[in-house]
Symmetry: C2
Subunit: 229 residues, 2 copies
DNA sequence: CTGCATTTGTGCGTATGTATT
DNA sequence: CAATACATACGCACAAATGCA
């Protein structure tokens, strides 16, 4: 790590082979491998079998990470919540929607509206959830209204498409009249808008976009970061 | 992992020792250690030297993680920001503050107020930042007003106290009159309140609490989750 | 397509250090 | 102080992936 930080090995360079590192430092292959593994978990190098290890970052800070056991943990409501299905419709992305979802104009999508409550009946809803999914995933909607699984889980089960990359953005806003009506709140009340883009890889286009509009008085997002071991 | 999932080893139980696992599976200690290390990075078990490994989760899903190279990445303003020091004072926690910071009443703390702007001069501020740090860390304040380092970095440099656990909570609120005046915004405008508790371990009390009140129109929090290798 | 060299991945065996009980 | 258990390190061998002649 020290040599990488000092510029002895630049980003993009291949690290010396494990055998060379053994000789260079006078240690066993086992020790070299432990060290390189540490560089990997620090995100400093990436290794490929039969090829070698490449330097990808020179900071070498031990990374903190927020880890989640499943995608569902992202929706950290802190308490169990019930979902109630409102409606779904097929839409062709107009200019505004294409802009928001970062897709081409005219793309055929399914839009699903749901509410999230603390318990099945009686309570004021906590969040208004809008899902956008590709038209080819349309049949997911049938399951959504019946099974208490997340859309991501249903898609993984039915289509084998697994979300390996999720981008989440959180911002604050005021409830519009329509949103307030759905949430049984007052227009102008503060709200958290959480948007998640699910994709199969960091490069791929998202196959699912979920946007939750949450009443600020009923919800906050808590994340715990700790050192990777 | 399979045995844990099947309930052979329950949450809270100790895993068999490495020597027992060697015999049970007829493999070498090295192989046992590789397997247990995998369980650790999956978050399924936690190991302590001289004691053993405890089962802490039974899902065994490969975890997704948001990794950050440094604490500073948490403040993901998306653009470079400048910090300007406003004021600092010594306070003894009253009931309200003790409640908010989860510390005992009367604890002596240093409260620091700062503004965060997109550029050094002329721009409207983006966020109003309040720091609370233990009184013994008081001298950090001198550096804060001069160096463009984060409080966490300064504390690590001067005191050797390193944040290995950070809890972040994000909620939405409306600006109060005082906050709006500082941010050159209107009272009632929406805002994101981001609070981070820095501590040396997940169990320890935080040595630093930072609360940022951010103009919703100038700021959002973006996190990227991807599979751990 | 085959064969070979290179490189990382996986596994076995052994010894010693160190923290906990 | 001893026993136990995990951490670290050495050595060796073979498997699997990659690239090249």
């Amino acid at each position: 790590m020290e040599e990488i930080r000092k510029g002895r090995h630049r980003i993009g360079d291949m690290l010396p082979t494990e055998t060379e590192l053994m000789r260079a430092y006078g240690v066993s292959r086992h020790t070299v491998r432990m060290a390189v593994q540490d560089l990997r978990t620090r995100g400093a190098v990436a290794s490929r079998q039969g090829q070698g290890s490449t330097v990808v970052s020179a900071t070498g800070q031990a990374r903190l990470a927020e880890t989640i056991q499943s995608i569902e943990d992202l929706i950290a409501f802190g308490q169990e919540t019930q979902r109630s299905f409102l409606s779904s419709r097929v839409v062709d992305a107009d200019v505004a929607l294409a802009e928001e979802l970062d897709c081409r104009i005219g793309r055929r999508l399914v839009e699903v509206l749901m509410l999230r409550k603390a318990s099945a009946t009686g309570d004021r809803p906590i969040a208004l959830v809008t899902l956008y999914l590709d038209f080819v995933l349309e049949h997911v909607v049938e399951d959504l209204s019946q099974v208490q699984k997340s859309a991501a889980e249903i898609i993984e089960g039915r289509f084998g498409i697994k979300a390996e990359s999720v981008v989440q953005s959180i911002e604050a806003a005021l409830l519009t009249d329509a949103q307030a009506a759905q949430l049984q709140a007052r227009p102008g009340d503060p709200a958290l808008i959480i948007r998640r883009d699910y994709s199969t890889s960091p490069e791929a286009d998202p196959f699912l976009v979920a946007r939750s509009i949450c009443r600020a008085d009923a919800f906050k997002v808590v994340s715990r970061f700790s050192c990777l071991s």
